[in-house]
C-alpha cells in the first residue's frame, strides 16, 4: 500500500539552528501539507502546497518557515532559526484530489534544546 514517508524520525537541534524536515508524498498525489502536533495537543495546520506553490498557510507559518518541492518526489519543510516552542511532531500529508482524505506520514519529532 502506498504511504507517505518522512525522514528523519527524530531530530534534535540547538535553538537558532536551521532544520530541514523531509517527506516523500504518495507518488500520484497532487496536494501536499505540513501539520504539527505539540505533545498531547491537537493537530495544527501549517501549510498546503499545490501546483508548485503555497495555496494556504496558517498564522504559525511565519517567515521562519518555508517549503519546497525540489524535485518530483520530495517535499521539504525548513525552519530557518528554530525556537524552543518549535518542538513538536511534524506530520507531512498528501492527498490525490481536492477535498479528499489526507494520508499522513509517520512524523518527525523535532526537539529544540
Amino acid at each position: 500500500e502506498p504511504e507517505v514517508t518522512q525522514t528523519p524520525s527524530h531530530q534534535v537541534t540547538q535553538m537558532g539552528q536551521e532544520v530541514i524536515l523531509r517527506c516523500v508524498p504518495i507518488s500520484n498525489h497532487l496536494y501536499f501539507y505540513w501539520y504539527r502536533q505539540i505533545l498531547g495537543q491537537k493537530v495544527e495546520f501549517l501549510v498546503s502546497f499545490y501546483n508548485n506553490e503555497i495555496s494556504e498557510k496558517s498564522e504559525i507559518f511565519d517567515d521562519q518557515f518555508s517549503v519546497e518541492r525540489p524535485d518530483g518526489s520530495n517535499f521539504t519543510l525548513k525552519i530557518r532559526s528554530t525556537k524552543l516552542e518549535d518542538s513538536a511532531m511534524y506530520f507531512c500529508a498528501s492527498s490525490g484530489f481536492e477535498n479528499t482524505e489526507a494520508f499522513f506520514g509517520q512524523g518527525t519529532r523535532l526537539t529544540v534544546v
Partner: protein, 112 residues
C-alpha cells in the same frame, strides 16, 4: 478563526461498553473527516461526510453529520481494546481551501 471543539476530552470505558465523541465547529463546514491516532502514531483517515444529516457506518463505528453541517459525532458500539487511541474530527469550510482544521480530540481508553 475557525474553531473545532470535541467533547469529551478523555473517556475511559470497560471493554464492551459504547463510546461517543462529539465534534462542534464554530463555522459551517463543507465536509468533515474523522481520523484515529494510536498512541505514538500518526492520524489515520477513517471516513469523510459531506451531506447534511449524513450517516455512515463502518462495522461498529457510526458517523453522523449534523443537519446544519456544524457538528458531527462518532459512536463506537461494544468497544474493544483495539479501539484505544485519540479520535479527531477535522473539517473544511466552503472557500477555506483544502486545509483541514482538526478538533481538539477525544482520547479513548478501553479497560478489560
Amino acid at each position: 478563526g475557525q474553531q473545532v471543539m470535541q467533547i469529551p476530552q478523555y473517556q475511559h470505558v470497560q471493554e464492551g461498553e459504547d463510546f461517543t465523541t462529539y465534534c462542534n465547529s464554530s463555522t459551517t463546514l463543507s465536509n468533515i473527516q474523522w481520523y484515529k491516532q494510536r498512541p505514538g502514531g500518526h492520524p489515520v483517515f477513517l471516513i469523510q461526510l459531506v451531506k447534511s444529516g449524513e450517516v455512515k457506518k463502518q462495522k461498529r463505528l457510526t458517523f453522523q453529520f449534523g443537519e446544519a453541517k456544524k457538528n458531527s459525532s462518532l459512536h463506537i458500539t461494544a468497544t474493544q481494546t483495539t479501539d484505544v487511541g485519540t479520535y479527531f474530527c477535522a473539517g473544511r469550510t466552503a472557500g477555506g481551501g483544502n486545509k483541514l482544521t482538526f478538533g481538539t480530540g477525544t482520547q479513548l481508553k478501553v479497560e478489560l
